[in-house]
Amino acid sequence: MDIQSYISSGKLELFLLGELTEREREEVLSLAKTHPQIQQELDELEETMFAFDNMTGKAPPQDLKDKIFSTLEPDFILKEAPKASSAPEQTKVVPISSPWKPFAIAASIAAIVASGAAFYYADKYQERNDQFTALLQDQSVMADDLNQVNQAYDEKDAQLNEFVAGNFKRVEMRGEGFDMQKDAKVDVLWDQNASKVYVAANNLHDLSEEFDYQLWAIGDDGPVGIGLVNSGEKLTLQQMEAVAQAGAFAITIEPKGGSKAPTMEKLVVLGEVV
């Protein structure tokens, strides 16, 4: 596992933005446990996001705070509620000496029982209500997850359809002829009719933070940059910008973000369309 390229893949940022599926989240969390660098990067990114939010915002007005805390007020009191159930017992000590005494005692016992029951059921009700809310929340979390999974599935499905229906040509690009990375190997999959281009990095070294790999389509008008290739995502298909005409494809190393024209000294791989 190459930690540095995992960190620079952008996955941790998406984790913090809440954009990963449950499965991908689990992956990030378990890697963070075993790799302190990942945990550290997560902490730093979170600090950054908090600082960014904190520095770009204005404090909410005081009356909003008052309103929020008055909404929350019943919740704060709720925790002290059980003490109140001892109160009705005090009614027992009221001295009554009249023929109504037995009735009064019976009535106060009934009152105690009734209020005890009321507290008991109120408590039960609250408990059920909490459980119900918890279930609703569970359900909405699951619905969210399902939604994300569906979206990911649709993406893959559309990709598969494209490959089955399309007319993709495989262009192998190799690094043997160049000085940069002799063992580099990257495949371009190109559907000329639909102008679609995908790239799969089989073997590409990881770059430091300041550089990116850039893919070029070389046609009659010279090389045209058609996107950045992420070396961290090995053997997955990365979609590039559309190309209708090209005689060859090549990858160069460029400063972060890519360049307008390729730096030929840093040509990594080249493959001709046959």
Partner: protein, 177 residues
């Protein structure tokens, strides 16, 4: 207060702890909402509901799945996006941009706000056009990275690496200010 203490206090429904949480995080969380929801009254309403939700859902917050701020910020962000996409305010076409933020802050009269305005400008310095675009759509318009990829036909991998690059610039600027 340590994060563990804070969470324990919130779970015990302790008023003081809740106030501490509010004082420490309300500014940042309100910012998360206000930059997506432009209307001031609606933003306040969303923040009210989101903060109440945070205190109610704290029992279900799982420390092993991420830090508290991220969890809270995502609740706020999602509430804001839900509101934005609901019928109620979809008629309003005005959306926030980075420029609104920078110049809006600067035009405030208070000294505190004025200093903040300079801070914001400094924060966003050195973002190139691609990265500015990413910050604007993710932070101010509530887009997800796959929505950006789809709508603007930018390959997913390119969006990811631009998100990373943009936040790295912010990180550097935050450390500097």
């Amino acid at each position: 207060m340590e994060e563990i203490q804070l969470i324990a206090g919130l779970r015990a429904k302790d008023r003081k702890t809740t106030e501490y949480l509010y004082d420490k995080y309300s500014r940042a969380l309100f910012a998360v909402i206000s930059r997506i929801v432009f209307d001031k009254d609606i933003a306040e309403e969303v923040f009210h509901d989101a903060f109440v939700k945070i205190t109610k859902k704290i029992d279900r917050y799982d420390e092993s799945k991420g830090r508290l701020y991220t969890w809270m910020a995502n609740i706020c962000r999602n509430s804001a996006i839900d509101k934005l996409r609901s019928k109620e305010i979809s008629q309003q076409t005005k959306t926030n941009t980075i420029d609104d933020l920078v110049y809006g802050m600067e035009s405030q009269s208070g000294t505190q706000e004025h200093i903040d305005g300079i801070g914001v400008k400094g924060l966003l310095e050195d973002l190139n056009d691609d990265q500015k675009f990413i910050v604007e759509y993710i932070y101010f318009k509530g887009y997800t990275h796959s929505e950006i990829s789809e709508e603007f036909e930018i390959p997913l991998g390119t969006v990811k690496s631009r998100v990373r690059a943009a936040i790295q610039v912010l990180k550097k600027n935050v450390a500097r200010i």
